[in-house]
Structures are given as structure tokens and as C-alpha cells.
């Protein structure tokens, strides 16, 4: 079955629609785990108003495909979907979705978390925050967090 496992898009996505696709004609996989990441209203104590997401077209898709292949080699999973949004996002907006189905819930949980951990440290996305602080608006690129790198290392 041909299916689109990866989507990099400016448009919003519907968790419900994605889950329908993951479950459709799929009676063997009793477990489905989803992760959804959204824009929070604060980061390091500053008040985030909007977020701009940039990526490296071509490399992003290639890297996410690699991560999915690795996840499938490691765990007994069925279907996978990864969506990452780009462009300007507001507080509460969905940024990222990972959905994994499996016969076994452990595999669905582990593969989903693995994909998110690797996406965080490997996939070429960059976030720029627009911040309002004491009425002043400024912009800055987010720094990578060491804890994300450490967490991805746990899987190796």
C-alpha cells in the first residue's frame, strides 16, 4: 500500500482525520499512540506571541524518512504518520504530529517517542520566537536544548 508517511506543511492538520487514516482498514493493529506538539505561551520565562518555523526542504523529508525506517527496524509497528508545520504559528497552534499503530502498545509508545526524540535533534527545523517583554517586541532564534540531544542518545 502506497501512503504518504511524511508531510511538511504550512496548513494546520486534523488529529482526528490523521487517526482515521491510521486506523482505516487496519484491524490487526489494536494500539495507536499519537503525539501532538503545540506552541506554548512561554519559554524560559518570556512571553511568546508567535513562532516562525523554517526548514531545509529536501533534507527534512530525507531525514524523517530515515527515522521512520529506523523505528520500523527496531519495533513491530504498523502505520506511521509524521506531520511538521512550517511558517508562522500562534500560541496553541499545532506544530507537530506523530502517529504510530501497532499490535502491541509498548511498540507503539516506544516508536512514537523515538521518532519525536530523533526529530527534535536531527530534523533540520528551526524556530524563531516573537516575544513581547514589558511591551517590547523582539525576535530570536531558539537555542537547541542539550537535554534533547541527551535524550536521543538514550536510544543508541
Amino acid at each position: 500500500m502506497l501512503k504518504q508517511e511524511i508531510s511538511i506543511q504550512a496548513d494546520d492538520f486534523s488529529l482526528a482525520d490523521e487517526v482515521v487514516l491510521l486506523e482505516k482498514d487496519n484491524v490487526t493493529d489494536g494500539a495507536i499512540v499519537t503525539f501532538t506538539g503545540r506552541v506554548r505561551n512561554n519559554n524560559n520565562g518570556n512571553s511568546v506571541t508567535t513562532l516562525t518555523l523554517e526548514h531545509y526542504p529536501g533534507m527534512t523529508e530525507k531525514l524523517l524518512a530515515k527515522i521512520i525506517i529506523q523505528a520500523k527496524e527496531r519495533w513491530n509497528i504498523g502505520r506511521v504518520k509524521v506531520i511538521h508545520r512550517i511558517g508562522k504559528l500562534s500560541i496553541g497552534d499545532q506544530i507537530v504530529f506523530v502517529g504510530v499503530t501497532s499490535k502491541h502498545r509498548q511498540d507503539a509508545f516506544a516508536a512514537n517517542e523515538f521518532i519525536m526524540d530523533y526529530l527534535k535533534v536531527k530534523a533540520p527545523f528551526w524556530k524563531k520566537e516573537q516575544i513581547t517583554d514589558d511591551g517590547q517586541t523582539s525576535e530570536n532564534w531558539l537555542d537547541a536544548k542539550n537535554c534533547d540531544t541527551d535524550k536521543a542518545d538514550l536510544w543508541s
Binding site: G37, L53, E54, H55, Y56, G58, M59, K62, L63, H84, I95, V96, M116, L119, K120, V121, K122, A123, P124, F125, W126, K127, K128, W141, L142, D143, A144, D148
Partner: protein, 82 residues
């Protein structure tokens, strides 16, 4: 020719998204970094950042990676997606 692309904070610091280099000028990714650093003080400072990452043809590589004509070489800061 080798196509060089820059992303995110790096692109803004350099005020440059893309440029080309003659393939004869550089054997490795580190050679390219050196050439770009030599441009001026701003570029030197930017490329002295040890956390800078590089990719060739969409694969992450280290500085010793060999480059050839037709390659796309990318430089960017640590990623912050998800």
C-alpha cells in the same frame, strides 16, 4: 560548481541564503568553511561557532567530508524543531 546554502540564524547573520564556489577551490567541507571565513570578519566570527552543523546532499557530515562539483553543501545551527 558547489552550491552552498545557509539556514536560520546563520543565514541572517551572514545576510546570505545561498552562494556558489568553484569546485577546484575546496576538497573538504572544512576547506569550504575556511574559504568562507576568509571573506570578512563577520563571516569569520560566524564560522568560528563550534556548534555549526554541515550537510552534503542532505546528509549530515563532518568537516573532513570530501566535496565535488554538483554537491549541495549546507551550513546551519543546531536544529530546534518539534
Amino acid at each position: 560548481m558547489i552550491k552552498i546554502v545557509f539556514f536560520a540564524a546563520l543565514r541572517e547573520q551572514l545576510d546570505c541564503a545561498e552562494l556558489s564556489l568553484a569546485a577546484d577551490d575546496a576538497k573538504t567541507v572544512d576547506d569550504i568553511k575556511q574559504l568562507l571565513s576568509d571573506k570578512n570578519e563577520q563571516w569569520q566570527q560566524t564560522f568560528s561557532n563550534a556548534s555549526l552543523l554541515s550537510a552534503v546532499n542532505h546528509d549530515m557530515v563532518d568537516g573532513s567530508h570530501l566535496v565535488k562539483s554538483g554537491d549541495e553543501v549546507a551550513f546551519f545551527p543546531p536544529v530546534t524543531g518539534g
